[in-house]
């Protein structure tokens, strides 16, 4: 089942990446990032099972904590941009333009 789990994880990660690159709504982009982190967590769990050690599960706990911290700061940033623009649309902020 390891190969299947890694496959599902890679597909979910890809969906998250494509979502970040195609959407414009800041909140949805942030949720796509959360999907990417979840995909990585699935990999960690599967690989932890493969190696027969619980270390991978410990990493997942760290990732969840960091995701929570990121959510707090990220949503605060989104609220502050909403105060300026009255929208969270990234039309004026091109993520891919340097």
């Amino acid at each position: 089942m390891i190969a299947e789990a890694l496959f599902f994880s890679a597909v979910l990660f890809t969906i998250g990446v494509v979502g970040v690159l195609t959407r414009r709504n800041a909140i949805i982009i942030f949720m796509c990032v959360e999907l990417m982190l979840n995909a990585v967590n699935l990999s960690f769990i599967a690989l932890s099972r493969l190696h027969g050690s619980a270390n991978g599960q410990v990493f997942v706990l760290f990732v969840m904590t960091i995701a929570a911290a990121e959510a707090a700061v990220g949503l605060a940033i989104i609220i502050s941009i909403f105060r300026h623009h009255k929208s969270v649309d990234l039309r004026n902020i091109n993520l891919l333009k340097g």
């Binding site: 890694l6 990660f13 998250g16 990446v17 970040v20 800041a26 982009i29 942030f30 990032v33 990417m36 982190l37 995909a39 990585v40 990999s43 960690f44 690989l47 493969l50 190696h51 050690s53 270390n55 991978g56 990493f59 760290f62 990732v63 960091i66 911290a69 990121e70 700061v73 990220g74 605060a76 940033i77 989104i78 502050s80 941009i81 105060r83 300026h84 623009h85 990234l90 004026n92 902020i93 993520l95 891919l96 333009k97 340097g98």
Partner: protein, 507 residues
């Protein structure tokens, strides 16, 4: 001094500088929020933050001087860590000093910003020490989350909010790649400890697709953090939109810490897979050097020009990662000192010439600066020359580039092509660095030019001390270079036997 890292009390001993910094930041938080929010309290917090940095600095020097060693473990206790810590702390002290003057001018009351600067520095010091990919991840997150907040610090500024959002979304996106890379490397090797990974990854098994995909993802993740072309798109807007002292902090310290972790992971964990990452990293380095400089050439705004210049310098530093040996690591440290002083000095000049409200400063605004503020113009010229790598007038900058080229040519796989590209890229960069100098010295001061305000004491000290240090060690670089040569990561010292393995893998 010897620390057994498996015993918690001794682990804490090996982390004394980090603990001083983080506990100091927590106490400072109490000072910051104890009473009403006033400028005086913010200023006091800033002063105390500089004090905490100096205390941490003393602890670092004490451990470095005492030649502390430790058992293999989750963090490194080696000269590379101490040297990087010193650079990070110096950058934090400079950024805090600039921030005190800047917030006074902009009437930005934010005592918490100094706490966040210190905590970000704590994450950076952790990165410099980490010998485990999980610690790398946590260090990067600690540093990044604090930096996201710092870039959006000025709530009145709409550009600051946009910068924070862009930085946050692309930062979190890149964290995903970094983390996926860590997961795949963990899957391929069964460990996240970079020493164990280094012993498992040898020429024999580097064809493992799990490992190759993991290394690829790690490269993407790290390149986002160091803003290498084509993963640089966040940098110019973020550097442009954030408050200038924070920009200086991000361009110098954040980049330095991410690079230190990148370098350590690369030379300790993956020397056995050289064939897998050599070509991608070479291309990234070349693209970053040429791309950063060519775009910088077209900039009219001073801050954007410096932003692209910092991208180009990431390319020069990437060359030392490609070299990935002791020579590369010492060239890296020497370069980092010169780059940090020159970049932060240049941003300090930008702050000194700034007006309340942070008007977008153009390069053309520097016309005739020599006629009104000769010392400021001279200092700016030194910083530009140092970034260019000009001999004598550029001080340490020249030797920094010289050591990088030297390391590239004397690597186990000589990087002649990269050395040539580095020289060509530097010639391109002369176009805009010397352009600033020419504008300052040759053009007349326009009649409607703004009157330069008196430079506040902190900014004054930062500008002239940076310029002086650059020039001094440009004349006497040997002591500094010797120190850098001794400060290589522990993995390079303890296992010289790995070099032949790396050579065998690439054949």
């Amino acid at each position: 001094m010897y620390f057994d890292l498996l015993i918690p009390s001794q682990l804490a001993g090996a982390l004394i500088p980090d603990l001083i910094l983080i506990i100091g930041a927590m106490l400072l938080l109490l000072v910051a929020v104890w009473g009403p929010e006033t400028m005086a309290r913010a200023r006091l917090t800033g002063m105390l933050a500089i004090g905490v940095c100096f205390a941490t600095f003393a602890a670092v020097v004490w451990l470095w001087h005492g030649q502390a060693t430790a058992s293999a473990g989750i963090i490194a206790v080696d000269a590379f860590r101490w040297a990087t810590d010193c650079i990070i702390l110096a950058a934090t002290i400079i950024a805090t000093t600039l921030m005190i003057d800047y917030s006074e001018r902009e009437q930005l009351v934010s005592a918490e910003s100094y706490v966040l600067l210190l905590l970000a520095a704590g994450g950076m010091m952790l990165l410099a020490a980490s010998r485990d990919l999980i610690v790398v991840f946590l260090g990067i997150e600690l540093m990044s989350i604090a930096s996201y907040v710092l870039s959006g610090l000025d709530r009145r500024s709409s550009r600051g909010a946009e910068a924070a959002l862009k930085y946050f979304l692309l930062g979190a996106f890149s964290t995903g790649f970094l983390l996926y890379g860590i997961a795949l490397v963990y899957g391929a090797t069964g460990s996240t400890d970079i020493e164990t990974i280094g012993s498992v990854v040898t020429g024999a098994n580097f064809n493992n697709p799990l490992l190759l995909a993991g290394i690829g993802m790690l490269i993407v993740g790290f390149c986002f953090k160091i803003a290498a072309v084509p993963f640089h798109m966040w940098a110019p807007d973020v550097y442009d939109g954030a408050a200038t002292p924070i920009t200086a902090f991000m361009a110098a310290a954040v980049k330095a810490a991410a690079f230190a972790a990148f370098l350590r992971v690369w030379i300790e964990a993956f020397p056995g897979a050289t064939a897998a990452w050599m070509h991608p990293l070479q291309w990234l380095a070349a693209l970053t050097m040429v791309g950063g400089n060519v775009i910088a050439l077209q900039q009219k705004s001073m801050k954007r020009m410096l932003a692209y210049s910092s991208i180009a310098h990431a390319g020069y530093l990437l060359v030392t990662v490609v070299v990935a040996n002791a020579l590369g690591a010492s060239a890296f440290l020497f370069y980092l000192v010169a780059y940090t002083l020159a970049t932060m000095g240049a941003f300090a000049v930008v702050i000194a010439l700034g007006e309340p409200g942070e008007r977008n400063q153009q390069i053309a605004d520097y016309a005739g600066l020599w006629n009104v503020e000769p010392w400021l113009a001279a200092a700016m010229a030194v910083f530009m020359m140092a970034l260019l790598g000009f001999p004598i007038a550029g001080g340490m900058g020249f030797f920094a580039k010289f050591y990088v080229i030297d390391a590239a040519l004397h690597a186990p796989h000589p990087q002649t092509a990269l050395a040539v590209i580095l020289v060509i890229a530097s010639v391109i960069s002369a176009g805009y660095y010397l352009g600033v100098v020419l504008v300052m010295f040759m053009k007349p001061r326009p009649a409607d030019a703004l009157v330069v305000r008196p430079v506040p004491t902190g900014t004054f000290l930062v500008i002239y001390l940076s310029a002086f240090t650059l020039l001094l060690f440009g004349i006497l670089p040997n002591g500094f270079a010797a120190l850098a040569r001794e400060s290589v990561p522990i993995g390079m010292v303890s296992s010289p036997a790995r070099a032949p393995v790396a050579a065998a893998a690439s054949r």
